[in-house]
Amino acid sequence: MNSRAKNAAQRSLSVRRVFCYIFLILLTFLSLFSFYILVINATRSHPDIQKGFSFLPGKSLIFNLKNLFTNQNLPVLSSLRNSLFISACTALVGTYFSAMTAFGIHAYNFRFKKFAFAFIMMVMLVPTQVSALGFVRLMSTMGLRNSFIPLILPSVAAPIVFFFMKQYMESTLPIEIIEAARIDGSNEFHTFNRIVLPIMKPAMAVQAIFMFVASWNNYFMPALLLDSSNKKTLPILIAQLRSADFMKFDMGQVYTLVAIAIVPVIIVYLLLSKFIVRGVALGSVKG
């Protein structure tokens, strides 16, 4: 290549780069604007919010926080703990068992394999909403009201996560690896835990985040199942605050509690997102 062509290529690359940045900054603005509004409104008092929108923060953050934490019916801290526990368990249980199911379908041949796969694909398509009331009735008869079990264990059967794992295995997990392990005398379960799981790590990290967030933000099911005040999760408290009676109805508090609710998710996400990017990078540089 001569130097002029090289320069031209360089220039067109810079033009592309500028275009990329403009586009990315626009998207960043769109993505962060609602967070900005949330933070601004969390610092404003209810009447102030009622009066209309403001780009500048108010001075009521401390006031809102104090109201939240002194309210005896809003166990903010214990609900943070409950949400964290349920979401972390859901993410762990869900990714582990989904990888396991995907491995079972991916690596073995058995009579009902095709049926099993087709079955999972079909149930993936079923909207969850309609069986909700039936589910709650069933859980009540099993004595699992006010228990975290019906919120965590169903994630063992997470068809969408399974499907992702299965797709990922198809592109990254050659059967030869498993056969090599067998020749080395590795037990199948051991192979799965020691050889397959590490290969699946980027996929598991991505899905763990998705599951964590989905579980963290879930309102409908916990609201129907949990009622004792030390078992409640954050979305329930937010709904409780939003339907407060007229004398205590306070949008400032609602926004502040929403802000409190998303901070831990953002922290978990910021921590894990580094692992994901690095994990993805490691996965691509195959030794």
Partner: protein, 312 residues
């Protein structure tokens, strides 16, 4: 699928087959207990008249296909179906295009974008807020006295544009929210797929003198097809099950004139009276629609992929 293996391997596989059952057992056990029993009752109930009037139970009376009949004759079902698809497509098409573009940029070694870590982190953030809170915030932003209208008014508009009183803007806002909530997610998935591609393929293409767009079309796209299928199908199912965002933004009614009422919002209407008959019928139809569409997507893509795979 294609890992059936050659006959030589088959004899080995049989002895390991029981492990397959063992590995998928927890899934099926959990599914049976937590989903299948409630689900079967849903399907079963769609053949009955059963609802609550206040605290009194009406039925259950077996009515055959009457629920399905009234669904199509008086329920405006097709209207809600088309609402759902219009809103889904409005959000999904830009989502897929933007995500592909971003994934290509972020993985393009020649482009070397600075601060890409920052952007990668930021684009996923809207997904972290709960849909209900996100809707609430959008409601604030696009309110008659919200920031968007105050900018529009300062630019010379006379009266505020009433976003939620107009069909196009209401659907557009729901689509925009769906887009914002999911484009980061899709980008991460696509990036993971692209980075999983053997780098020597890119190097070979570069040595052959292919440009970035060429490499993207002819190397990257065919190789990330499994993940593209995943994205398509999950988004399709997510779209068909769209609920929280329009529910809260339009106060549960799909206004204006029910043009932003989605299928699951309609389903939710029947849950108010625990109308398991009609609700069950809606779910069965929902299930059939999703199944047909997903199978079309799945087979049209895997068919092509296998042809491409043979070529390589």
């Amino acid at each position: 699928m294609d890992e059936k293996g050659s006959p030589r391997k088959k004899s080995r596989s049989i002895s390991y087959g029981k492990w397959g059952y063992l590995f998928i057992a927890p899934f099926f056990l959990a599914y049976l207990v937590f989903s299948l029993i409630p689900l079967i009752s849903t399907f079963y109930n769609s053949f009955f008249e059963r609802y609550m009037v206040g605290l009194d139970l009406i039925g259950p009376t077996f009515v055959g296909l009457e629920n399905y009949y009234s669904l199509f004759t008086q329920g405006d079902f097709s209207k809600y179906l088309s609402n759902t698809f219009i809103i889904w497509i409005l959000g999904f098409v830009p989502q897929l295009l933007v995500s592909l573009l971003l994934a290509a940029w972020f993985t393009d070694l020649r482009l070397r974008l600075r601060a890409s870590g920052f952007f990668k982190t930021v684009i996923y953030m809207p997904n972290l807020i709960m849909a209900a809170a996100f809707s609430m915030l959008f409601y604030t932003i696009f309110a008659d006295a919200g920031p968007v209208n105050s900018v529009l008014m300062s630019m010379g508009m006379e009266s505020p544009y009433r976003f939620l009183a107009n069909i196009g803007s209401t659907r557009g806002l729901i689509a925009l929210m769906n887009f914002l909530m999911w484009y980061g997610n899709t980008t991460i998935l696509l990036m993971a797929a692209i980075m999983g591609i053997d780098p020597s393929l890119f190097e070979a293409a570069q040595i052959d003198g292919a440009s970035s767009p060429q490499i993207f079309r002819q190397v990257t796209l065919p190789l990330i097809k499994p993940i593209l299928i995943y994205v398509m199908i999950t988004s399709l199912i997510g779209g068909i099950q769209m609920f929280d965002v329009p529910q809260i933004l339009t106060n549960g009614n799909g206004n204006p004139n029910r043009t932003s009422m989605t299928l699951v919002m309609y389903l939710n209407k029947h849950l108010f009276s625990e109308n398991f008959g009609m609700g069950g019928a809606v779910s069965v139809i929902l299930f059939l629609i999703s199944a047909v569409l997903s199978l079309i997507v799945f087979y049209s893509f895997t068919g092509k992929m296998q042809r491409g795979g043979n070529k390589a």
